[in-house]
Point group: C2
Chain length 191, copies 2
């Protein structure tokens, strides 16, 4: 069964890579990208640092894989999103602090000079703003109830999501992220 076995080998290899990426997500959440050592990631999957470098030749290559997984994760349903689903998304995020923490830490680092994730986030935000504007337009048309255009509202929507995440990560007991986000949506539509 040549095809089957070749497949198994490739599948196993990709599973290993996925394991490593998952571990990298954790370590980055705990220490940021600069603070995340390859050795720490490797240890978490039962490898030596050099064993890890067999699967990802450089640290940056590992980061790329981490960012790609994120893309894959939230790229699929964007066109089918609606306003009410955004609130659900925030609620879902509130149950996954590790992931949120990883990408909040990465976003913070990415504004520094020459950070390997900088281009990624720049492009991602351009994309996300456009996507959000589309969602807003589908819901409200060219003019929101408060007179703003979808294009001018989208950056605010994204800013609220990100900003609330930081406040929530720092002090989950004081900030009810999903509720606050629903408040913002109400601000957009119900006047």
């Amino acid at each position: 069964m040549p095809y089957g076995d070749a497949m198994n080998a490739r599948v196993r290899s990709e599973e290993r890579r996925a394991e490593i990426v998952r571990a990298a997500l954790e370590v980055i959440a705990e220490r940021g990208y600069r603070g995340a050592s390859l050795a720490a990631v490797a240890e978490r999957v039962g490898l030596t640092q050099q064993g890890l470098l067999h699967h990802f030749p450089t640290k940056d290559a590992l980061l790329v894989a981490v960012l790609q997984e994120r893309d894959q994760w939230d790229a699929l349903p964007t066109t089918r999103w609606r306003m009410d689903l955004l609130a659900s998304l925030v609620e879902y995020n509130a149950m996954r602090p590790a992931i949120i923490q990883t990408f909040s830490a990465l976003l913070g680092e990415s504004v520094t000079e020459g950070h390997p994730a900088r281009a990624y986030f720049t492009e991602r935000y351009t994309r996300v703003r456009a996507s959000m504007a589309e969602v807003l337009r589908a819901q409200y048309g060219d003019r929101l109830p408060n007179g703003l255009t979808p294009e001018r509202t989208a950056p605010l929507l994204v800013a609220v999501m990100d900003g609330l995440q930081y406040q929530w990560l720092l002090d989950p007991e004081s900030v009810d992220m999903p509720e606050a986000f629903r408040d913002f949506l109400r601000l957009l539509g119900e006047d």
Copy 2:
């Protein structure tokens, strides 16, 4: 002139410390706190790394001084702020990307485990939310035009400011931070 000379010595020392803090702000803006080496900060003020450690015994002590300066910077006028001054503040920030970048980078790092600035930011946000609620109450009373309370609106106000900063730092040409913030204020009050 014993008093005068003693004063001069102390003043000169504090000037040196202030120089170092200023340099640290720059380096942190460029590389984050974890990425900022004492040697890089020292070089910027014409010292060796060990010479710098004479003024700040540890790296964390230097960070504390950086954070204290920030406190001093924005703690004074909080009680006298009004809504319209917030927009001016954002405009002012838009002319000082270095400072914004420093504290955006620090905020991002601070959500990671055991980060030396974590407690600072947690407390700061508690304080800032309360302060913003106060400003909102002074402007609108206990109910905003859209029905929300000042306490529930404050986190949104803070989130928008922070979130817009990240988008703006990553892509200043695509995001008009002051305009977007004014849009948000309009969202709060003019319905």
